[in-house]
């Protein structure tokens, strides 16, 4: 999945994403350049250093994994819009 927001994954969207995922039952993991981040942790997400154009792998594991993945995809597409 590609980050298209010109500001990258900065503090505000990261905190929104964390809040959004709090309602789900699946564990979401972001992987980027060999580093992995638990998407329930804003600090871990920020530590990945995702910029505009970064290609990130998103995986979800749990009962609602498909729905969650779709939501994350939607979120990243519309981040900062």
């Amino acid at each position: 999945m590609k980050i298209i927001s010109p500001l990258g994954m900065h503090a505000r969207p990261a905190s929104e994403l964390v809040k959004m995922l709090r309602g789900c039952s699946s564990k979401v993991t972001f992987s980027f350049r060999g580093k992995q981040a638990d998407a329930s942790s804003m600090l871990s997400l920020l530590s990945l250093g995702l910029k505009c154009g970064s290609e990130v792998d998103v995986s979800a594991e749990g009962p609602d994994e498909f729905d969650v993945l779709a939501e994350v995809e939607e979120f990243i597409l519309h981040m900062d819009k």
């Binding site: 990258g8 900065h10 503090a11 905190s15 329930s40 804003m42 600090l43 871990s44 530590s47 250093g49």
Partner: protein, 504 residues
């Protein structure tokens, strides 16, 4: 009523309600893990952290809601709220508590540093800048744990007898002294910092209270303290109080700090003002640690230090002011500059060792500030602590002359043509044995008998069990002083004693 027999360390009597400084667990002498990690209950520390983090997150949530249409602030507070709730932060803090047996606030510092390092390592100024947010949130949590920056002493709001298991030098930066009628602690001895502070401020104090007795005392209990006899009466009735007051309070130790020439020690500009107004002939030791301990948000700036030293020198009205460069390490730690834990801090990085080592920038700033103050106030002299070799003393002097050169190059003009008088502290056995060589390098000696006795006797001066061994050191100290004075007079330099112990 119960009377506890303690050891009086600062004479005078005081009565008032008790204020007990109970801490989450006891930090050891060097403010870190090492010696008394046993007393830290990891479960309790984790709970302390969880509660503080939740309170901070809720508070930030409230701020975010209150910001309303101010979208920028609302977004910021909301992001900070998420950081306070961040599971990775919680995991990291708990790992520090479990793994290193740290106190909650220390674990937060550790975790905070890790996250900041990770963010700063990113090749992106925006992301690196987020480390400031992490620091801010962690500071909020830490302050919540320790009680709003002032720590446990923030709640000290009425004149009280302050009690603690142990007082630490940094405590005195956090206490409002107008509310301190007396000090009582379990740990500590006649020459521990709290006792010296108490005497310099004429506050009655006693040490050696048993921890069991401390546990039985409640905040607000009335206490009668005699800092001379060391009697601490809990909830005394009127007859008992009258009886206690009838006994003359006996003097403890030597009030004039061992100087025979009217010089005294000082740790602040106020101390200097008081001493000079009471007739002191000069300040033989101006401690600079308290400037650094009081400094919020990191090291005091050069300008800030110039102002303090100049005010102190001015308060001396032309009488000598001997400024000792920063002597931290040992039992003295700065809240914003954590030194690594050491098994034997008194035998580790302290005084000039730090100044010539990891704190050389801070040392240079201080030396520049002292020289700038000296340029207008030639009654200032400088001395270096914890010297063990001529090499160290020469290195410190080299820094000094380098700074003089730089400042002259920057156009600083000196009132006096004489170079600043530069002294060597004699407080280690090595310096005693090398006194002859050091005397040829130094303009004067200043003997720190408290530390010298501690090192001669191999007896921790903060340990009440060592009081006997420590105070029996006068014969050895006397011989050491003979050697020091002989070396000084052979080289025609002045030698002063600035400790509290002085043999006949």
């Amino acid at each position: 009523m119960r009377v506890c027999g303690c050891k009086g360390v600062s004479k005078g009597r005081a009565e008032g309600p008790v204020f007990i400084a109970r801490r989450s667990c006891m930090p050891s002498g060097n403010g870190d893990v090492a010696s008394n990690s046993e007393s830290c209950d990891p479960q309790a520390e984790k709970r302390t952290f969880e509660e503080a983090a939740k309170a901070v997150a809720d508070e930030l949530h409230g701020l975010s809601v209150k910001s309303g249409i101010d979208v920028t602030s609302a977004g910021l507070f909301s992001a900070h709220e998420e950081m306070a709730r961040d599971p990775a932060l919680h995991d990291s803090v708990c790992a520090y508590i479990d793994g290193k047996r740290l106190r909650a606030e220390e674990a937060v510092s550790g975790a905070c540093a890790d996250f900041c390092a990770r963010l700063e390592a990113l090749d992106d100024p925006y992301m690196s800048g987020r480390s400031a947010d992490v620091t801010d949130v962690c500071n909020r949590i830490r302050e919540r744990i320790t009680g709003r920056g002032a720590g446990v002493f923030g709640a000290l709001k009425e004149p009280s007898i302050v009690m603690a298991k142990e007082f630490f030098p940094s405590d005195f930066a956090k206490m409002d002294f107008s509310f301190v009628r007396g000090l009582v602690s379990c740990r500590g001895g006649y020459t521990s910092h709290a006792s010296i502070m108490a005497r310099s401020r004429h506050i009655p104090a006693a040490v050696g209270l048993s921890p069991e007795d401390l546990d039985k005392i409640s905040n607000g209990d009335t206490v009668f303290l005699d800092g001379g006899s060391g009697e601490v009466a809990i909830c005394p009735d009127e007859t008992a109080k009258a009886a206690l007051e009838a006994v003359p309070s006996h003097a403890v130790g030597d009030e004039n700090s061992g100087y025979d020439d009217g010089f005294v020690n000082a740790g602040s500009v106020e101390d200097v003002e008081r001493a000079i107004s009471e007739g002191a002939e000069g300040i033989g030791l101006f401690r600079t640690e308290f400037i650094f301990l009081h400094s919020e948000g990191g090291f005091p700036s050069e300008d800030n230090q110039v102002s303090v030293y100049s005010r102190a020198a001015k308060a001396c009205c032309g009488k000598p002011l001997v400024i000792r460069t920063l002597d931290i390490g040992g039992d003295k730690q700065l809240p914003y500059f954590k030194l690594p834990a050491e098994p034997n801090p008194f035998l580790g990085m302290r005084g000039i060792r730090l100044s010539l080592g990891s704190m050389s920038d801070c040392f240079k700033t201080q030396v520049r500030a002292i020289i700038r103050a000296y340029s207008s106030f030639p009654n200032i002299a400088v001395m270096f602590p914890m010297i063990v070799s001529t090499k160290e003393f020469e290195a410190a002097k080299a820094t000094l002359s380098g700074c003089v050169e730089d400042l002259s190059g920057e156009g600083l003009e000196f009132v006096s043509k004489e170079p600043i008088s530069t002294g060597c502290m004699i407080e280690t056995p090595a310096a005693v044995l090398l006194a002859d060589e050091l005397a040829s390098e130094a303009d004067f000696f200043s003997v720190g008998t408290n530390d010298l006795t501690q090192y001669l006797q191999a007896a921790d001066r903060g340990n009440p069990e060592m009081d006997g061994i420590y105070s029996s050191g006068t014969e050895a100290l006397k011989r050491a002083l003979d050697m020091i004075f002989k070396a000084a007079s052979d080289h025609g330099i002045r030698c002063r004693i600035c400790g509290e112990i002085k043999p006949e």
